[in-house]
Symmetry: C2
Subunit: 133 residues, 2 copies
DNA sequence: TTACTACTTAAAGTGCACTTTAAGTCAACA
DNA sequence: TGTTGACTTAAAGTGCACTTTAAGTAGTAA
């Protein structure tokens, strides 16, 4: 069975050692087995779990909701429906945020375009927009 | 000339009164003119500026970079090129983040699909993934 | 044996972006 | 005239998610 050191996990997943310890302490990830000298030894299953938690964090799910999700998981298969709802509603929230960001990107693109086409006269006019400070 | 109270701006833009004051104090937005009783009175130009600042915050540009952008603006047209670079590089960063989130959304969708199709046997197996705690 | 490196812990500290608090002013209405 | 409500300020407080610190241990190389 392949095992990984903390350093390997750090590389593989892209979380710092202190974050990995913090997640473990907060029970976002399981208690990791130790090798003969007391250092953490991660399994492929651990890696998979940590990766999914990272996906949740990458999409800004708050720690307290992830804890909620993990608790449900530990209660077993009777919580499948609730877990599905939790992930699905998070997914919908993220989708809306992405759509909002795409709108914002249009505004940024418009601004860049403006800077590309602006001439000296336009620039002087634009100064009037924020004349103080 | 149309003028707006803080309450109207709050509604129009979707920022709290304290955030509007905070942005003003930090010079992200210009010093707002006051009415006869000392209360803020926002112009359409103010609204436009605040909206753009909100777009920057909605896309998670840090306050210190926005301050940098505002400073450049105040230095006048000689900073147009720098401002364009600043906004453009931010735009590219946001685009990458959006792409990353779309990838994460695929993972979330996969998980939802899994929960939709999982049967009792599969659920028991999945329990092995996180057996402690 | 000594030094070095990589890990370990609990606890305190950090950074960011607001948000709340406490105390005060002003205009309108009963 | 008093009280209500919306504003004002500076300063302190909050929430979140880590990150850093300080002190210690275990294994390896010289």
């Amino acid at each position: 069975m392949t095992r990984y050191t903390m350093n390997e996990v750090k590389q593989k997943i892209g979380l710092s050692a202190s974050t990995l310890r913090y997640y473990e302490k907060e029970h976002l990830i399981p208690e990791i087995n130790r090798d003969s000298s007391g250092n953490r030894s991660y399994t492929d299953t651990d890696i998979e779990w940590i990766s999914f938690i990272k996906t949740l964090r990458d999409t800004d799910m708050p720690i307290h909701l992830i804890k909620n999700y993990v608790s449900l998981f530990q209660e077993g298969s009777k919580t499948i429906a609730t877990r599905k709802e939790l992930i699905e509603s998070h997914k919908e929230k993220v989708q809306k945020e992405v759509e909002q960001k795409l709108e914002s990107l249009k505004v940024l693109q418009k601004k860049v375009k403006y800077y590309e086409t602006v001439d000296r006269r336009k620039q002087r006019l634009s100064q009037r927009a924020f004349k103080k400070g």
